[in-house]
């Protein structure tokens, strides 16, 4: 959508989520919108990279009001206390910021954290601009942008609607070794492989592990990924895009081919029409999703997906379901 089109929607006063290039987001008028920078999108015509259009997620007519708040790293714990009594909260955080780290490591411990749907994404930039251009979050009510705060749109829902957040993870744990860690963190030097202490970097090198395929753990029925970032050959430190948890059993993922078809099939099988969706930019990159549709979902490709936890290489979506009040 063009900036002019987005401006018309903002003028209508409905709460919106907007994704796009910083230059475009700065042109939008004030209003109840939460924005984040990213140039990659899932569109009706397939995967797209553009700095000339924004992607607008408009919530249904029933969502007439919303409260937009931003949280610094020391204020994040307040987030679940601000959940609407009945509703859904959409969050956008800037990649690389300390808010992402704290959220990912501590969020699950905050009282009430899992009590309402908390869904969103991590803002980023064009891959070629990583390290040169800062990802930003925009508060449309003030026009301010942040490189170090989380923006959250708390949306109350009528009692006739219930928000449900789900994930589609194409990765399954492979049949191989069990990897465990003794410390939580976005990096690790040591691990245990089938209970035996190893240097993770050496293990991955020996296995010729393709770092495109994440670590996968079973969360009581949900497969959750931790994507690899890099291996430092000197320090032997392996870095991740989400924290590994101590005691949890991880396996290297089974390789996936033809992401687009598999996403399509999974969305069809679930028969869902999301009001919000995002997908990992690694899925866009590794599976070459440019021009390819990934099912019924449209929205940004992100530098991390949020469905309560910080997720990697996963599609996240939220549906609104009608219920008897």
């Amino acid at each position: 959508m063009t900036v002019a089109g987005a401006a018309v929607m903002i003028a209508q006063g409905r709460p919106l989520l907007v994704a796009g290039d910083e230059r475009l987001l700065r042109q939008l008028p004030l209003g109840p919108w939460l924005g984040g920078t990213i140039p990659y999108f899932m569109t009706d015509d397939g995967g797209l990279q553009t700095a000339e259009k924004v992607f607008v997620t408009a919530l249904p007519d029933a969502c007439v009001e919303a409260e937009l708040r931003s949280y610094g790293v020391d204020e994040l714990e307040q987030l679940p206390r601000d959940y609407p009594e009945h509703g859904v909260s959409f969050v956008i955080m800037p990649a690389g910021a300390s808010v992402v780290t704290r959220f990912a490591r501590e969020g699950a411990n905050w009282p009430g954290f899992f009590d309402r749907p908390l869904v969103g994404w991590v803002a980023g930039v064009a891959v070629e601009d990583i390290g040169r251009v800062a990802p930003l979050v925009f508060d449309g009510t003030t026009g301010k942008s942040y490189g170090d705060r989380a923006g959250v749109l708390h949306v109350p829902l009528p009692r006739t609607l219930v928000a449900k957040t789900e994930i589609i993870n194409l990765f399954q744990p492979g049949p191989g070794d069990v990897l465990t860690f003794t410390e939580e963190g976005f990096s690790a030097v040591e691990c245990r492989v089938n209970g035996q202490p190893r240097l993770l970097a050496d293990y991955l090198t020996e296995r010729s592990a393709d770092l495109q395929w994440p670590l996968v753990a079973d969360f009581s029925g949900a497969s959750i990924n931790v994507a690899f970032h890099a291996i430092d050959a000197v320090s032997k430190r392996v870095t991740f895009h989400a924290p590994v948890l101590p005691g949890l059993e991880y396996r290297l993922a089974q390789p996936v081919t033809d992401y687009a078809t598999k996403f399509m099939e999974e969305f069809e099988r679930r028969k869902v029409g999301p009001v919000f969706a995002c997908n990992c930019v690694f899925n866009y990159q590794y599976a070459n999703l440019k021009g390819r549709k990934v099912g019924r979902a449209t929205g940004p490709f992100s530098f991390g997906e949020i469905a309560w936890m910080l997720l990697n290489q996963t599609a996240v979506y939220t549906t609104l379901e009608r219920v008897s009040p």
Partner: protein
């Protein structure tokens, strides 16, 4: 026939109610060896995290996990019926 159906309904309601916090089954849920296969995403995430915390083995961690799990289901009873059924299945 109607009485049977009523009994089934009562039994089902009983099976889906949240056990008291002191119920020993909570300890099994947060610290037992049985692998949980839950339905809702927040329950899957929370319960996995809680079970990891109890691997330290100290009683305080187990009690804290029981409290957190019980409070979650108590506050979200309507949206976690499938999870309660998966965990407590046949009732007390």
């Amino acid at each position: 026939m109607n009485d049977d159906r009523e009994e089934e309904r009562l039994a089902e309601r009983e099976a889906l109610s949240i056990p008291d916090r002191a119920d020993p089954r909570w300890r099994e849920v947060v610290a037992g060896p049985r692998r949980l296969a839950l339905e809702s995403l927040p329950a899957r995430m929370l319960m996995t995290r809680l079970r990891l915390r109890t691997t330290r083995g100290d009683e305080a961690s187990v009690q804290a996990a029981i409290t957190a799990a019980w409070e979650f289901f108590e506050r979200n009873e309507a949206t976690t019926q499938g999870d309660l059924l998966a965990i407590f299945g046949g009732g007390p």
